[in-house]
């Protein structure tokens, strides 16, 4: 089985968010991590590798520095890393990103593509499903459990109050939730091996069947007008009441706000 996992290097929000004067994220000034949903997707792939045997290839689009996230994935157990980087790909929104990743993945053999549900720096949850659309394969999003049965994949798809069990023929794409699993740690030896391994670097010319008009800032239908740090909504209101009074109090408040 061949599995492709898409990962993104994102700012570590624990270290604080920093902006450029134009409102975009100052990625160079922030500590970075592997996006948590993507890490769960990678762990899911590595577990399938442990259970069924698989070759796991990790793909990322980003600055040359994003190579780090591929090394991390390889230190966890991924077999290959592909970095898609090119100036013309900069400023991509989800449409241009998914076009880029699909263009890269078209060069690869795969039975399964796993992406994270969404990245913590954008929270769009669009790139995974868009890749499947570009490649013309089924997608199962919000996976909380993944199993393989013959040439099909059986996935529990999470909802707020229930889950659906879906079965799809491979090749297909799955988007993973951080809750899917507890990702393994890198191993110390894996880190040193990962730095000895070659990372494949692809640019625009290596992308297959993608129009220039769908790439980079020019190919992005959405543009960020402004970004800012979270604004506090206020201190909130604290009341000390017994249970019955609390219920009445909350109901009154909800009525005032026309929620009920």
């Amino acid at each position: 089985m061949k599995i492709v996992v898409c990962v993104k290097q994102v700012p570590d929000t624990k270290g604080g968010v920093k902006f450029n004067p134009d409102g975009t994220l100052d990625r160079g000034a922030m500590l970075t991590i592997m996006n948590p949903d993507d890490k769960a997707g990678l762990e899911a792939a590595l577990r399938l590798k442990d259970q069924y045997g698989a070759e796991v290839t990790v793909v990322t689009m980003g600055l040359p520095k994003a190579e780090e996230v591929l090394r991390e994935a390889m230190a966890m157990g991924a077999d290959k890393g592909i970095l898609v980087t090119d100036r013309v790909l900069g400023g991509a929104d989800t449409w241009a990103t998914s076009q880029t990743l699909a263009g890269a993945i078209r060069n690869l053999e795969y039975d399964l593509i796993i992406t994270g549900r969404q990245a913590i720096d954008g929270d769009t949850a669009q790139v995974g499903p868009q890749i499947s659309e570009h490649l013309g394969i089924p997608v199962i999003s919000y996976a909380q459990k993944i199993e393989i049965e013959g040439d099909s994949v059986i996935v529990e798809r999470q909802y707020d109050d229930r889950y659906h069990v879906l079965k799809a023929k491979m090749p297909c794409l799955i988007t993973a939730l951080a809750e899917l699993n507890e990702p393994r740690y890198m191993t110390p030896g894996g880190i040193f091996d990962a730095y000895k391994a070659d990372i494949t670097v692809w640019g625009r010319a290596d992308l297959k069947d993608v129009e220039d008009s769908n790439l980079g800032l020019k190919g992005s239908p959405t543009q960020i007008a402004k970004a800012s740090d979270k604004v506090r909504k206020g201190a909130g209101e604290k009341v000390t009441l017994d249970a019955a009074e609390s219920v009445d109090y909350i109901i009154d408040k909800l009525k005032v706000k026309h929620v009920i």
Binding site: R71, A75, Y185, M186, P188, G189, I191, F192
Partner: protein
């Protein structure tokens, strides 16, 4: 001379730090309070490959350098001195001598499961009458047919009872030198837990590193296979001294970690604690104390890393290891003491980590060669 760590080492530090924060720190206080060996953490470390970091891959290890291993002990010790010494004793005192002196069969049988973390290791040299004076050994081993028969006891053994494999030293003969003085010839052996005649005495109740399992080992007509002799017969003293050179780097890294942990806690505390209407970090005394602490911690780190690098590149690194351990241990004691002082009354309360760290720091000046022994090693090299 390059003071920059490689990207690999930086990533390894990120790994160790993340593991320490997530898996070790939440248990540190409880491990100290209950004096219960953190078996669950050891299992997690085994899975993560932390129990065979400098052991070659062909023997089940991670194939990393001594610096990576020292950084692991350092990061673990930043949050829990107990966890740091479990890894240090296992790796430096049990894996290392088997890797260095073991036969191929011994490596396959013992080093592989040790490095994979399937088995835990320990080292038994110290006896009631033989601490710094290793020549005072009373434990004896006598060859009887195809077996060595061990009699005697060892005390203060780290990972005692919890470990599966022990490197044990015993007197195998007494020779007379040219001046007519008798000299004990010591040999090293590999002894498995569960061997008839090998039992455990009392568990020591300690000032610090209280979750670490410190036991007396008792050998009563304990018969082990002839092939469990480690290295050559009569060469055990050299094996012990060489092993301790490496072990000192592990303990120096532990001491460094404890000092760093105490400094980190203190920096956080002095920003929050207010007296006379100001954070105590605004007072010059606090600032100067912190400056001294940080400077010494950084100097200790340089020495520990240099000693670890020396182990990788030099045949003999006794002096580097002795200096690193001497300095890092004394810095750990000084920094943790100052950390408690800067915490004031709260620093004396067990709820605050620095209280534990100060107790944990003390042992680093004592075990695997006291500070006085390190001074003997260093001055011996100066005056030879």
């Amino acid at each position: 001379m390059d003071f920059m760590l490689t990207k690999q080492h930086e990533m390894a530090r990120t790994l160790f730090k993340e593991f320490a924060e997530k898996e070790v720190k939440p248990l540190a206080q409880e491990v100290d309070e209950t004096e219960v060996f953190p078996r669950g953490t050891v299992e997690k470390m085994a899975k993560a490959g932390f129990l065979g970091i400098p052991v070659p891959k062909e023997y089940g290890g991670q194939g990393c350098d001594p610096l990576t291993y020292a950084m692991c002990v350092e990061e673990l010790s930043k949050v829990c001195g107990t966890t740091g010494v479990i890894v240090s004793a296992h790796t430096s005192l049990c894996c290392d001598p088997i890797q260095t002196y073991g036969t191929e069969e011994q490596k396959q049988k013992y080093l592989v499961p040790l490095a994979k973390g399937e088995k835990l290791g320990a080292f038994g040299l110290t006896e009631p009458g033989a601490g710094t004076d290793a020549q005072g050994q009373q434990t004896k081993a006598v060859l009887d047919g195809d077996e060595w028969v061990l009699n005697g006891s060892k005390i203060f053994i780290t990972n005692g009872k919890e470990a599966d494999i022990y490197v044990i030293f015993a007197v195998t003969s007494v020779v007379t030198d040219a001046k007519g003085r008798s000299k004990k010839m010591i040999s090293a052996f590999i002894v498995e837990k569960g061997t008839p005649g090998f039992t455990f005495g009392t568990k020591e109740k300690k000032m610090g590193i209280r979750g670490s399992s410190t036991y007396e080992l008792i050998f009563t007509d304990c018969r082990i296979p002839k092939e469990n002799l480690l290295g050559q017969e009569g060469k055990g003293f050299g094996i012990a001294m060489h092993t301790l050179d490496g072990g000192r780097i592990g303990i120096a890294a532990q001491a460094l970690g404890i000092a760093e942990g105490a400094l980190d806690r203190t920096i956080e505390y002095v920003k929050e604690r207010k007296q006379f209407g100001r954070a105590i970090g605004a007072f010059q005394n606090t600032q100067f104390q912190l400056a001294d602490m940080a400077t010494k911690v950084q100097a200790a780190q340089m020495m520990v890393y240099r000693a670890a690098m020396a182990k990788a590149t030099q045949k003999v690194y006794s002096v580097e290891a002795a200096m690193a351990k001497l300095y890092a241990a004394e810095v750990a004691m000084e920094v943790t003491t100052k950390a408690v002082q800067l915490h004031g009354g709260y620093g004396y309360i067990r709820e605050y980590d620095v209280e534990r760290m100060m107790r944990d720091a003390k042992i680093t000046e004592i075990y695997e060669g006291t500070s006085e022994v390190q001074r003997m090693v260093i001055s011996g090299s100066l005056l030879k």
